[in-house]
Subunit: 222 residues, 2 copies
């Protein structure tokens, strides 16, 4: 279907386009130009067209794109036309939020198990799903063909959890613990690091206002 490899930068934007297309459909807009879609996605229209050209030629010159058709093509390219079973490990503050997050289940991702090492939480229902023991990981992965694992444990446990996931057959990991995971080459890890995001904002903020004399916000102790 897609003979050419898609650039990584493009892959990272496809979900954004998908969101924009869904938003247009919600407003009953059936067709759109690259300019409109680019605005909705917050990117340059030339970039959008080049990105889409990597998937194929799904627009019509002089007309634009059919919203539903393009959405299907992007979904198919990403792999959202199939179902992706997911396990979440570490059901603390963040794990609870993730389990309740509708954005996970809405797009083909299905939480098949919530795992935690803390025995006192086993059996507790979160978003209708019981918390189970981490030791059941291997069996669950085999049973449901889980390919994607989410780590929401403390950093100290993350590498061990990751190793177990890989041993069980998982080859894609979404890591929320603030630690670098070392994995074999065929395993993908994506890291979500809130602390880093704040620090990047702080860097730019500092550059904007280099003159912080008697400004408030420094008198209170953390």
């Amino acid at each position: 279907m897609s003979p050419t490899r898609i650039p990584e930068a493009t892959v990272a934007r496809l979900p954004v386009y998908l969101r924009a297309l869904n938003s247009l459909l919600d407003s009953d807009i059936r067709s759109c130009s690259s300019e409109e879609l680019a605005t909705a996605a917050g990117v340059n229209s030339a970039k959008l067209r080049k990105d889409l050209s990597h998937l194929g030629s799904y627009g019509t010159r002089g007309v634009g794109y059919d919203v539903e058709y393009l959405r299907y093509q992007i979904s198919r390219e990403i792999g959202l036309t199939q179902d992706w079973p997911v396990v979440i490990v570490g059901i603390g503050n963040l794990g609870h939020a993730l389990a309740n997050f509708s954005g996970f289940s809405s797009r083909g991702f299905r939480t098949v198990a919530l795992l935690d090492a803390d025995e006192s939480r086993h059996g507790e229902l979160v978003a209708g799903c019981p918390i189970r023991d981490f030791g059941e990981l291997g069996q669950i992965v085999r049973e449901h063909g889980v390919a994607i694992g989410v780590i929401a444990t403390p950093a100290s446990a993350a590498q061990a959890v990751c190793d177990q996931m890989i041993a069980a057959g998982i080859r894609s990991v979404l890591n929320f613990a603030p630690t670098v995971l070392s994995v074999p080459e065929d395993v993908d890890v994506r890291m979500v690091d809130l602390s880093s995001e704040l620090q990047i904002l702080a860097y730019h903020e500092q550059r904007k206002a280099p003159h912080v004399e008697g400004a408030p916000g420094t008198e209170g102790v953390a």
Copy 2:
């Protein structure tokens, strides 16, 4: 101090180096080579050295880097030697987790207020901080000199919340709602989109195993 502008890709990695340095200090390692630090940070050592060279010449040839000194220099460059007051808006599932997240407060970021539009939650204590009305935003920003705002509301409210933040004087926004925010040029927005991260993983996963015949994980309906 730093006459030259630091490349964006480098800025995004500085927090990672900082984490690695802290981790080395925890192990009582006072000095390290670029190779060691690069391994701890999960990057190429040449890239690490080039990144650090943008800050200045803080290493010693033939020896390596002093861990504590380098940590201080990076902290200073990012702006973590000063205190950053932060407000979080939308104290639902995710907002609760964020308020409880120690990684926020640990590095100079101080949550000064939790705001929500839902009156029934006002006064409730989360991580020792009371939930207050969203209408108090302007006053709080002025009072504490808040420069960074975190949005954890539903997507439908995010743009309005963002506009209010900017009107109040906030110029850096961390957005968790899955929607594109339109802001003036002098405002920075960073977006954390879990759904996108999962989709990117799914894309690569699909490429790894293009042969999904009778594999499990497709029989159950979402």
